[in-house]
Amino acid sequence: MEKDDKQRIMLEKVLKEHNYQESALLEILHRAQEIYGYLDKDLMMDISGSLNLPPSHVYGVVTFYSFFKLRKSGEHVVTGCLGTACYVRGVEQIMEAIEQEFKLKRGGSTADGKLSLLLTRCIGACAMAPNIVVDDEVIGKATKEVVTQKIREVLGGVKAET
């Protein structure tokens, strides 16, 4: 509970900084996601109330951008780039290898909530295709060996900085 309050205080600061301006919605959602990790319905309701915006409008904006998350993701997040360049360079096989080894599906998390596998479109590093992002680190010219090894590392308690 105490943690919740701290987060709410941080959010309130952000709201104040922006003077509760509805035009700052996008920036506020960004910061809110940084604070809470994801945007659930209670949070969206809270923001919609604070900015005096219709809930459906806030929801529309949140779901328009794939950057925003509606659900809590795993402790560690692996994102595969499914842009054209990465696709052509065989990102698909790497994704399959990850799914098999760590027993999860793209868009989902492992049963213990330690790992999530997400998709994105072109991260803008096509020259290095195929690209896989493990937590905050981009792995270019990725192979399934390197990527699965890296994931084993972050899962294996070697502290990944956040």
Binding site: M44, P54, G60, T63
Partner: protein, 235 residues
């Protein structure tokens, strides 16, 4: 405040209108009707359906008449073979996008999409159909939404926001995944802001939003929609 009056030609007819007037309105004022679907007078223009595309001489681009303001000395063509092809294609894409089966639709015979298809002579759909299978939401006391028939014209969203003033409805997601939602994507029956005013059902051009047990021709009586709009224009 003085308003600039602009001269232009629509289908060869000389027209004078105030600067900033939409092509659609300028045409209508001189008796030229351009086909539309998403547009509804009294609501802001949306420019989503692309039925109202017109040609402007001097550029190969087509412009949506509902949301393009007139310019001085413009020469506009509202009817041509090319435009007709595009309009037919737009209707076909709308038909292919979800599940439109007139024979089992509440709006059969009172549907603007159906009427438009007939008017343009659309007798087949050249795209593969999607046959969406979204759950029908009938949790509201009497308002029902069947998103399989929705053409995303956003009239309901605009009337809810601009006339009723509650903005219960909006769009979620993007592209082919777009859907009309209530509040935070709640079931309609759980919506905390809906005032059950029925305006959404009245302006829906198809059979996506309707009132349970009420004949659609009654719900969609045009004079009611015009009444709403007239009130709006008076403000």
């Amino acid at each position: 405040m003085s308003v600039n009056i602009i001269k232009l030609k629509i289908d060869g007819v000389e027209v004078t209108v105030p600067e900033g007037t939409a092509i659609l309105k300028a045409a209508k004022d001189s008796g030229i009707i351009i086909p539309t679907l998403c547009n509804l007078e009294g609501l802001t223009a949306y420019g989503g359906c692309r039925l109202c595309l017109v040609e402007v001489s001097g550029t190969p681009k087509l412009f949506p008449a509902c949301s393009t303001p007139v310019g001085p000395n413009m020469e506009i063509t509202t009817q041509s073979d090319k435009l007709k092809e595009y309009r037919k294609m737009a209707v076909q894409m709308l038909l292919a996008e979800r599940t439109h089966i007139c024979s089992v639709c509440v709006a059969d015979d009172h549907c603007e999409l159906q009427a438009m298809a007939n008017q343009l002579g659309v007798d087949h759909v050249m795209f593969e159909r999607n046959w969406s299978q979204d759950e029908i939401d009938s949790t509201h006391d009497f308002l029902v939404i069947d998103r399989n028939r929705c053409i995303l014209c956003t009239r309901c969203i605009r009337v809810c926001d601009q006339i009723e003033g509650v903005h219960t409805l909006d769009l979620k997601l993007r592209g082919k995944d777009s859907q009309v939602i209530m509040d935070l994507d709640e079931h309609w029956g759980n919506s905390c802001s809906c005032t059950s005013c029925r305006k959404c059902a009245k302006v829906c051009p198809v059979g996506a939003i309707y009132i349970e047990g009420e004949p659609i021709e009654h719900t969609k009586k045009r004079d009611i929609a015009e009444f709403i709009v007239e009130r709006r224009n008076r403000r």
